[in-house]
């Protein structure tokens, strides 16, 4: 069975693109539409990795990362932030909250896969 990766993003098109790329590379995907949705799902289900946008309604990416690290089930999973170039300070904030790595939007599918392979080891 492939590894299970959650993609949390309020943009349906990004989720769609990420999910497609992941599935094509043999990963299983669970989607979340915002931080709150993601955290609820992560409290109930064990995943191997989280890909999260930073700007989301309800709960943003930083809140989500903190929530995951404070939880139990997925405490140690790698978390990769999807950021944009204008968010350097947010990147540092995310790192401090416990993110493992980041990828800068826009990215190509192969860049996404390279990052995932890297953090999943």
């Amino acid at each position: 069975m492939g590894k299970l990766i959650m993609t949390a993003d309020d943009s349906a098109s990004v989720r769609q693109m990420v999910a497609f790329t992941l599935k094509q590379n043999g990963y299983d995907v669970v989607e979340a539409v915002d931080g709150r949705d993601a955290l609820n799902k992560l409290n109930a289900q064990k995943v191997d990795m989280l890909l999260t946008d930073l700007n989301m309604p309800n709960m943003d990416g930083i809140g989500l990362i903190k929530g995951v690290r404070a939880g139990a089930l997925n405490k140690f999973i790698p978390i990769v932030m999807l950021t944009t170039e204008s968010q350097d300070s947010r990147k540092a904030e995310g790192k401090a909250a416990g993110a493992t790595g980041w990828i800068v939007k826009p990215f190509k599918p192969e860049q996404l896969i390279a990052v995932i392979k890297k953090v999943l080891g």
């Binding site: 769609q16 700007n55 944009t84 790595g101 990828i103 939007k105 826009p106 890297k118 999943l120």
Partner: protein, 712 residues
């Protein structure tokens, strides 16, 4: 799929723009509502981010400007004004316009530029964003081509992770494994910072690592491994050895120097210990100056660099002598000379044996041994891997399948198989025809394949492998297979097969090689005119090879070419008829049996021999070549397999195996049928090399009734 995501993006952006409009209008009422400001910012942000991902670069670039302004509003550097809202609403309309313009169409940039200029005017001057900061690439994928050209260096890396590294989801081991994948690495873990059990926090990482890595990928590649952790972890990367260093000695620094360089030992301590005149590392550990792991790590470094340097100093000499370029004609000349030598040597052996002087016999045996080695070595020089031809066919398959609207992949194996250079050149045409046939007739259209329950993508396998003195080349497709009945019907129609005889599959399939034979209903630009396979047969015959066809209806056809490794010298069977010697290529010979007068009488003049129950037709070479001498009491039949047909050749006497150096017959005799060349025997006499396939063909033609014969 990408189109789907793009459609979703258009839809989503449309919704966001509608939401944006509402928010902007609300903002006009309550300009200080930070929630509304955030909403506007987020909408812009998503439109920009996703737009860039799906190739809407215009939208991304334009929205970036608007987003920048709203980022300032969000951070309190600007206030919401009527003018700002006007411009933002205009921006929203412009984005909608960009969103709906078909890809590739010229767009109205002026309107967008006007809005941007307006927005920039609103921005306080010292906060104007710097131009050119727009695009920061995402993580760079390593560029192999450039890096790999770089010279090989050895690096000393000390990786001391932040204690909370595990809490950030990073596995240090996978980072170390990533380093290993860059080159040759030796890793030593350091445990000296692990605290006592009651002070130990289970979630922290106390171990750190020394890694000695030899790689040609450069420092950036190493830094890239640590890209996500370099801010929090202590990472030291030092160059300790490189292939470019003049320092060519194989030894490496002393243990003490390494430890001092690493900062694990002070120079003063080193001097003190050195005075003790014992093994340096042992003293350091004994006295507790340095931990055993650190000494171990330094020793590993010493060993690593020593072995890398040793390899390096040995490598260049080998490389220098690895290959030289020689004109092909010089090699041909060498082969010719070796051929002459083999002939002379055979003569020498014969003469010395006849003389009976043991000294000469010993010398001639020595010469024979050396000649054989020389022959093998000389022939080997002309051998080339067949792979270069294979890659040409990949292109052929790609182009043809596109032309015919089929989906075909090509797989190859045994590209490293070596064959004589001239053989490879002569194989080209036959292979082109076979592969064309497979693509055109063999592999079905994607629809037909799906209907037959197969994958829509057809595959053509091309493989080569050694088999004794020959190379087997296999061309296999997973197409429709040969239509046995259609071929049989066509062959009977053309008089190639008799309707009353129940021919074997092999015999029927062999008909596809007859000149002008085609069962194709339609002639395409690729094949179907029936010229192809006949060319294949002639080409393979010219190489003294044989062709085998095997096919399963519905699941594909396999064509196997058996080609001798070389054209210059072949293994053959030397036979005698009367006073004359003849040579039969051994590759096709299966066995030799006796033919007695009794047998001839029993077959009632029909030239058929009964070999263990199988009836095999034979050709009397004595008759064929009109050799008039007395026929011996017991003759020999040499049974050969010629393109799937078993045929006997009757000779007086089988002399034995013979290394035959092939000589061409020259212009005068070039068109003589049934003889493909000649060779010079040890005693200086000439023996003709028989073309068994052609002999069979000639005899068949003689026996055909005139009407059927005329159809050829």
């Amino acid at each position: 799929m990408m189109e789907e995501a793009i459609a979703t993006y258009r839809e989503e952006a449309g919704e966001l723009l509608a939401e944006l409009e509402t928010s902007l209008l609300d903002l006009e009422e309550t300009p200080d509502d930070s929630d509304l400001i955030n909403r506007v910012f987020r909408a812009m942000h998503t439109i920009k981010g996703s737009g860039a991902m799906f190739g809407f670069d215009e939208i991304a670039a334009f929205t970036h400007e608007v987003e920048t302004v709203f980022d300032m509003v969000r951070n309190g550097k600007m206030t919401v004004t009527k003018r700002l809202l006007d411009l933002t609403l205009k921006s929203r309309d412009h984005i909608l316009y960009l969103l709906n313009s078909p890809v590739g169409e010229d767009i109205d940039r002026a309107a967008g530029d006007e809005i941007i200029v307006g927005l920039r005017q609103l921005v306080p001057h010292d906060d104007l964003p710097q131009k050119g900061s727009d695009v920061i690439p995402a993580i760079e994928l390593p560029e192999l081509s450039e890096d790999e050209l770089a010279q090989e260096c050895t690096w000393r890396i000390r990786f001391r992770p932040a204690p909370n590294i595990l809490m950030c989801g990073t596995n240090p081991i996978s980072l170390i494994n990533e380093l290993r994948s860059l080159g040759t690495a030796h890793v030593v873990a350091q445990f000296d910072e692990i605290p006592l059990l009651d002070e130990l926090a289970g979630e922290n990482c106390y171990i750190y690592w020394d890694i000695i890595l030899t790689t040609s990928r450069g420092e950036d590649a190493i830094r890239d491994v640590f890209i996500f952790v370099e801010d929090d972890c202590d990472i030291r990367i030092e160059l300790i050895d490189s292939s470019g260093l003049i320092d060519r000695e194989q030894g490496y620094k002393k243990l003490g120097d390494i430890l001092v360089e690493r900062g694990d030992l002070s120079p003063v301590e080193m001097q003190k210990v050195l005075l003790l005149q014992k093994r340096f590392g042992e003293i350091l550990v004994e006295q507790g100056i340095v931990t055993p792991e650190k000494v171990q790590s330094a020793l590993v470094e010493q060993q690593h660099v020593k072995s890398v340097r040793k390899e390096r100093s040995e490598a260049p000499q080998q490389e220098a002598a690895a290959s030289i370029r020689v004109p092909a004609e010089r090699l041909d000349q060498l082969i010719n000379l070796v051929g002459e030598m083999v002939t002379v040597q055979a003569h020498l052996s014969q003469v010395s044996l006849a003389g009976g002087d043991s000294t000469y016999i010993a010398i001639s045996e020595e010469v024979e041994r050396l000649t054989n080695e020389l022959r093998d070595t000389a022939l080997n020089i002309r051998m080339l891997p067949i792979g270069s031809t294979f890659s040409k066919f990949k292109r052929l398959v790609r182009d043809l399948s596109q032309e015919l609207g089929k989906e075909i992949e090509m797989e190859t194996f045994g590209a490293e198989t070596e064959l004589d250079k001239t053989v490879i050149e002569k194989l080209n045409d036959p292979l082109v025809h076979i592969i064309r046939n497979s693509i055109d007739h063999g592999i079905e259209s994607p629809e037909a394949r799906k209907a037959a329950g197969k994958s829509s993508v057809g595959t053509v396998y091309l493989g080569a492998e050694h088999s004794g003195d020959s190379v087997l080349i296999t061309i296999r497709d997973d197409g429709a297979g040969l239509d046995r009945d259609a071929i049989r019907a066509k062959a009977i129609e053309r008089g190639l097969l008799s309707a009353n005889i129940d021919a074997s599959d092999r015999e029927i399939y062999a008909q596809i090689f007859a000149p002008g034979f085609s069962t194709a209903a339609k002639v395409t630009s690729v094949s179907g005119r029936g010229v192809g396979m006949d060319v294949v047969k002639r080409g393979i015959d010219g190489l003294r090879g044989s062709i085998g066809v095997d096919s399963v209806r519905g699941s594909g056809t396999t064509i196997t070419l058996k080609i001798p490794l070389t054209l210059a010298i072949i293994d053959s069977l030397l036979v005698k008829i009367g006073k004359d010697h003849f040579v039969l290529p051994l590759a096709a010979v299966e066995e030799c049996v006796e033919l007695t007068r009794e047998d001839i009488k029993n077959s009632h003049g029909r030239n058929l021999a009964n070999v263990r129950g199988a009836i095999i037709p034979y050709i009397s070479l004595r008759e064929h070549f009109a050799i008039g001498d007395q026929c011996p009491e017991i003759e020999q039949i040499v049974i050969a397999d010629i393109h799937g047909t078993k045929v006997g050749f009757v000779v007086d006497n089988v002399v034995g195996e013979h290394q035959t150096v092939i000589k061409s017959l020259g212009k005068m005799y070039r068109d003589v049928k049934g003889v493909s060349g000649a060779t010079i025997l040890g005693d200086g006499t000439v023996a003709l090399i028989l073309d068994m396939g052609m002999l069979l063909h000639m005899v068949e033609q003689l026996e055909q009734p005139p009407c059927a014969g005329g159809a050829r």
